[in-house]
C-alpha cells in the first residue's frame, strides 16, 4: 500500500515535470506561434534542478556553485521575458543581476577560503 502511494506520487510528479518541459516544445509545431511566450518553463525546470542542488549538496562548495549557476540562469530568464512582452527594462534587471551575482560569487569564494572580507 505504501509502495503504491509512493509510485502514484512519483508518477504524478514525473508527468508534471515532463509536461512543463514539453509544453513549449509542442507550440513549435505550428509556424509563428508563441513559443517564446512559453519557453521560460524550460528555464523553470533548470531553476528546480539548481534549487535541488542547493537543498541536497553535501558540502558548502556545492551550494555556492548552485547559487552562481542560478544567478547566470536568471540573466537568460530576463532576456527571454523581454522579447514577447516588448519591455526593455527586463534587460536592465539582467545586467544588474549579472553584476551582483559576480560580486556575490567572489564573496562566497573568499568565505570558502576562510579569509576575512577586508584582506
Amino acid at each position: 500500500m505504501k509502495n503504491l502511494r509512493w509510485l502514484t506520487g512519483f508518477g504524478i510528479l514525473a508527468a508534471s515535470i515532463l509536461f512543463v518541459m514539453l509544453y513549449p516544445i509542442l507550440s513549435l509545431l505550428s509556424w509563428q506561434s508563441g513559443f517564446l511566450a512559453h519557453s521560460f518553463f524550460i528555464l523553470m525546470l533548470c531553476f528546480a534542478m539548481c534549487l535541488f542542488r542547493v537543498m541536497a549538496g553535501p558540502t558548502p562548495a556545492d551550494r555556492a556553485v548552485a547559487i552562481d549557476t542560478l544567478g547566470i540562469l536568471i540573466v537568460g530568464f530576463c532576456a527571454i521575458l523581454s522579447v514577447p512582452t516588448g519591455r526593455d527594462w527586463y534587460l536592465d534587471i539582467a545586467i544588474a543581476w549579472a553584476l551582483q551575482s559576480f560580486i556575490g560569487a567572489l564573496a562566497l569564494a573568499k568565505y570558502l577560503e576562510g579569509r576575512g572580507f577586508d584582506e
Binding site: 537568460g76 532576456a79 523581454s82 559576480f102
Partner: protein
C-alpha cells in the same frame, strides 16, 4: 521583422535553452564539486550568451539589442573569473576529490 531574422533568432534561443538544460542535468548527475563546476560554468554561460545573442538578432540594433550584447560581453568576461575563484576556494576549504579521480596538480604544486 522579416521571416529570416525571426528564424535565426529562434534557432539561437532554442540552442541556448538546450545548453542550459544539459548544464543543469550535469549539476545534478555528476559526482564531485569540481565536475559539477566544470559542467555548469561552461554550458550555462555559453547557453545564456546564446540566448542573449538570439535576443539581439530578434530585436535589431536598438536599445534592447545593445543592452543584450552588453550583458553577453559582461557575462563572458566575469563568469570564468567567478568559477575559478569558487574552485580555488573549494580546494582550499578541503573538499575531497571523487575517489576515482586521476590527478590533482594543484595539490602537487602546493607541496
Amino acid at each position: 521583422m522579416n521571416s529570416l531574422q525571426h528564424a535565426a533568432g529562434m534557432i539561437f534561443i532554442v540552442i541556448g535553452l538546450g545548453f542550459d538544460v544539459f548544464g543543469c542535468i550535469g549539476l545534478i548527475r555528476l559526482p564531485d564539486v569540481y565536475n559539477r563546476l566544470q559542467a555548469t560554468t561552461k554550458c550555462v554561460t555559453l547557453g545564456t550568451c546564446s540566448i542573449l545573442l538570439g535576443t539581439f538578432i530578434l530585436k535589431g540594433l536598438g536599445t534592447t539589442g545593445v543592452k543584450a550584447i552588453l550583458a553577453a560581453i559582461f557575462l563572458l568576461l566575469t563568469s570564468p573569473v567567478a568559477a575559478h575563484a569558487l574552485a580555488r576556494g573549494a580546494h582550499k576549504s578541503g573538499v575531497k576529490l571523487w575517489p576515482k579521480s586521476v590527478a590533482d596538480k594543484y595539490e602537487q604544486d602546493r607541496n
